[in-house]
Subunit: 119 residues, 2 copies
DNA sequence: AGGACAGTTGAACAATTGCTCATATGTTCA
DNA sequence: TGAACATATGAGCAATTGTTCAACTGTCCT
């Protein structure tokens, strides 16, 4: 833990206030989980592609130029996080977005990232 | 790569269209980097705390109940990603948010994560 | 100068990640 | 039934992550 920084710091009050206002750990965990789905390019491509489209693993595999297995593994993670849902039809499995939030987050993330040409 | 799924798939057109519309790899990398700052609870707590407040390492360390070293390492990462800026004053180093986007993203992420009580 | 404090940094480590490869399941069609 | 296909999954592996620990830099104060 902290070696107890200067108790008379001019920031003591702010820290105290923040401690009270700070959302509980679980809230941070949840939002982190949401962002986790988007912090990997492969996953964000998948989510981008599924935005408005119902696609099978094979479609995604071709679109992203990646192994069917790699895609399937990622989808499995997104499934566990309730970010995508799926529908089986014969041999194929069609995936689509299960979460409205994640779509919105990706869209604004992509916007922001591209406004940020300053680095 | 893909073992070439059924070429006559009813989704071939969609895939073709998506291939054309798909943003370049770099765009995805950039947005992923933005989300990466937020996908870890420690980092998102730091960003939350710095939202509107200029805090020193020690303040953050006390607020989060974590080692000063752990905080410093995380800040170093956020610095490299241009997410935070800092100002030295005597022994202390004051950090603040350098990026408007990240603030907005965290806020909406926290909102969305908490609306999502359904799991 | 010397001690105390704030912060940074690098090495080390366990845990996690993202992928590949091989294999398994389940479906369609001849 | 058996071959071909779409997908899922587990083991294995290299790379990355998040933290700790110890050592270091720089500043203030006496």
């Amino acid at each position: 833990m902290s070696d107890k920084c200067d108790i008379n710091s001019p920031h003591e009050d702010v820290v105290k206030k923040l401690k009270k206002e700070m959302p509980d750990a679980q809230s941070f965990e949840k939002s982190a989980a949401l962002f986790k789905a988007l912090c990997d390019p492969t996953r964000s491509k998948i989510i981008w592609a599924l935005d408005g489209n119902e696609l099978c693993v094979c479609d995604l595999s071709e679109l992203l130029g990646m192994t069917q297995s790699a895609i399937s593994h990622q989808l499995s993670g997104l499934r566990k996080a309730n970010m995508v849902k799926f529908r089986k039809s014969g041999k194929e499995v069609f995936y689509s977005l299960a979460d409205e939030h994640i779509r919105i987050m990706l869209e604004s993330g992509m916007e922001h990232a591209n406004e940020k040409e300053d680095e």
